[in-house]
Symmetry: C2
Subunit: 409 residues, 2 copies
């Protein structure tokens, strides 16, 4: 299924040589906005092709989730003939056609280097994700541990890694932003360029952008872990009668007053101000008095089941949410169902029907959710379309083992 | 300081009416690529203006970090005259000039609605961030608890919130991507549009994009917390002789063999294959045998100080990193210093010199790090430039309390 003809990026073509999360997610983000994203893989798949979790068929739920809506071409990239074909695909076309864009997380050397490729197409745009800014290898986990956040996460005593590969996700979205920025320059000047992004820079820049580094530098204060409490405002988790947990937050005064009203505890909460000598109409005051606030609220939650909490907070303006594991999210949350226009149930070959998201951006011409391709599924189609190869020429490449189709041949 | 004249987004002008993290970060991302980003705030500041942490001066380290490189205009937005000025700033200019772009996380109604504004400029682009896709309010914390990740984070027993506001960060970058996509459409067709993004959709789409939802739907498996261990590969934290911790990861076989070589434990590690009946040249096999692998490696780390570990791993191809709190990151990591071309020391008015990042995207014409503006610091300049108001007319607005400058008048 193609993207709609009015898709925002409908005239862009991006060729990827990628693996893992960040770079494939960057390409997928563009595909969800209508770009023709062609992922080139070695025959048999790249290193991420069988990453866990796997479906009963052996197909990777990870790989299929991260490569939705792309076309797949399988090439023997160790052989010069294969490298020649890959380079020709990356640089196919002529200025103004929206092609000539490479996205990769492989090293910038040899046939894949920007210089070598731009000799074939001088308006080439290369986006290149690297690990650490000091030139060493790095992945999300080895960047994350150094970026400060795990030491400020959890109850304290030991660092806690977040499970979300947040730096990969952010890097993928930075790559999409960088690609569109470079393409915007090219549309105006005709000039291509190489754009770099180090995963470690994404993490460390974010620590700075959120003020954590200035807190050290200016205040000589290092953020400490404080469990599920918010810093600088009132917010924390509470347990319900049946042992479920919810997160409750008040940032604005309106949200704060909504809690008192919806729980019927406004009068008791108001006693905390003079008792703790704080101004409860101030975020900082509520933060300072957070343990007293929690002490008043905890019995209210402990006496109610989640559904009673939900009913009490409905339409109240209280800012809250239930904790849900991935099972509860999929099975119980209507936002995670085809009732949400972002989602559709789509048949993923090798996997079965899955609830599949489009781009979370609601934009005219957003592509509907589309399955990931089978590995090599569009090899012949893309060789014919981009390189003008005849069926006979393509057949010879298959016979020689230079390219493969979805059957791996 | 202006952005370089060859900045990728040097001809774009974005007007923001925003607060908190996601939308301001989206705007800042564009400012770092050279866009003229004008943040409109109420006189005295929006609800996020004094958010913690604060510098000794009372200025917010949070606000200044998230609004770097923007211009600031302060307007009394409760008054019709103020709303008229804000609407005029948002819609100033004519098609083709790169203006007419609004970024906001306020409700799409009244004078700020897309329809009302596009009557003033019909190629208007509005980017609008909302909380939950069901129309209720939501912030990062109340989206995060429902998105599955806290229930899979930490040692188990209770959900653990990550401290990084990851959904805000991702949403900010989605907004940047969406804005460039819509602007690309406008450059080709002349048509503006309203683009929406719900924070809850960012989180739930990501849970799907990483395969967590398919794991439930296809395999009936809900990802469980497993501390600092990786899922599906070998990776976990280890303690050093002096009680520091490091993260060690092997995804590829090359990385796995590098661990054996650098620690001198290759022979012992090889015994684990037959002992645990797994193939250690397979990611899944290493995952299955992870406890045995950790048992062999732990004494090696426990016998060495961090600097000895660093020396042993230098140039070895081992994928690892030290845990660092925000203090150690700022004070000890050369990647987090002016030695990294992304960073410069910049004087932030009201705060002092801070280590400030440019965009992590290395792209021609990337703007150097620039301080956040004082609130209202560019009120007069922007009113004159965009609306052509005379000094006398601007003076009357100040006298009437409709606008204010950096002195709050």
């Amino acid at each position: 299924m193609s993207a709609p003809t009015n898709a925002p990026l409908g005239d862009l073509r991006v060729v990827e040589v990628v693996a893992f999360i960040a770079a494939p997610l960057g390409g997928m983000t563009l595909a969800q906005l209508g770009a023709d994203v062609i992922r080139i893989d070695p025959i048999g798949g790249n290193i991420d092709y069988r990453r866990w979790p796997l479906a009963p068929s052996g197909d990777s739920l990870y790989w299929t989730a991260l490569n939705k809506g792309k076309r797949s071409v399988a090439i023997d990239l160790r052989r010069p003939e294969g490298q020649e074909i890959a380079a020709a695909l990356i640089t196919a076309g002529t200025p103004g056609d929206g092609g000539g864009i490479l996205l990769t997380n492989l090293p910038a050397s040899g046939w894949m280097g920007h210089e070598a490729l731009s000799r074939r197409r001088d308006d080439l745009i290369s986006l290149r994700l690297t690990g650490s800014s000091d030139g060493t290898g790095a992945v999300d986990y080895t960047v994350n541990c150094a970026a400060g956040f795990p030491m400020a996460t959890g109850p304290g005593g030991a660092p806690v890694n977040h499970v979300l590969p947040a730096w990969d996700v952010a890097a993928g979205l930075y790559l999409a932003t960088g690609l569109l920025s470079a393409e915007r320059v090219r549309a105006r000047t005709g000039r291509g360029q190489e754009v770099g992004l180090a995963l470690s820079d994404v993490a460390i820049a974010t620590a700075a952008n959120l003020g954590y580094l200035a807190e050290v530098q200016v205040n000589d204060t290092v953020r400490q872990p404080m469990g599920n409490e918010l810093y600088g405002a009132f917010g924390r988790d509470f347990e319900t009668a049946e042992g479920r947990r919810i997160m409750l937050v008040a940032i604005s005064n309106r949200q704060w007053r909504a809690i008192g009203k919806a729980t019927g505890l406004a009068e008791k909460l108001a006693m905390i101000g003079p008792m703790m000598e704080v101004d409860l109409d101030d975020e900082g005051g509520r933060y300072a008095a957070r343990h007293a606030i929690a002490a008043v609220l905890a019995p209210w939650f402990a006496a109610r089941r989640l559904e009673e909490v939900r009913a009490a907070f409905e339409g109240s303006g209280v800012l809250w949410g239930p904790y849900q594991d991935f099972g509860q999210l999929l099975r119980e949350d209507p936002r995670c169902s085809p009732a949400n226009p972002m989602f559709q149930s789509v048949e993923q070959p090798g996997v079965g029907p899955v609830l599949m998201p489009a781009s979370p951006l609601s934009i005219a011409g957003r592509a509907p959710p589309r399955a990931a391709p089978p590995l090599g599924g569009q090899t012949d189609e893309v060789l014919a379309e981009l390189l003008g190869l005849s069926a006979a020429a393509i057949g010879r490449l298959h016979d020689g083992g230079v390219v493969a189709d979805a059957a791996g041949r």
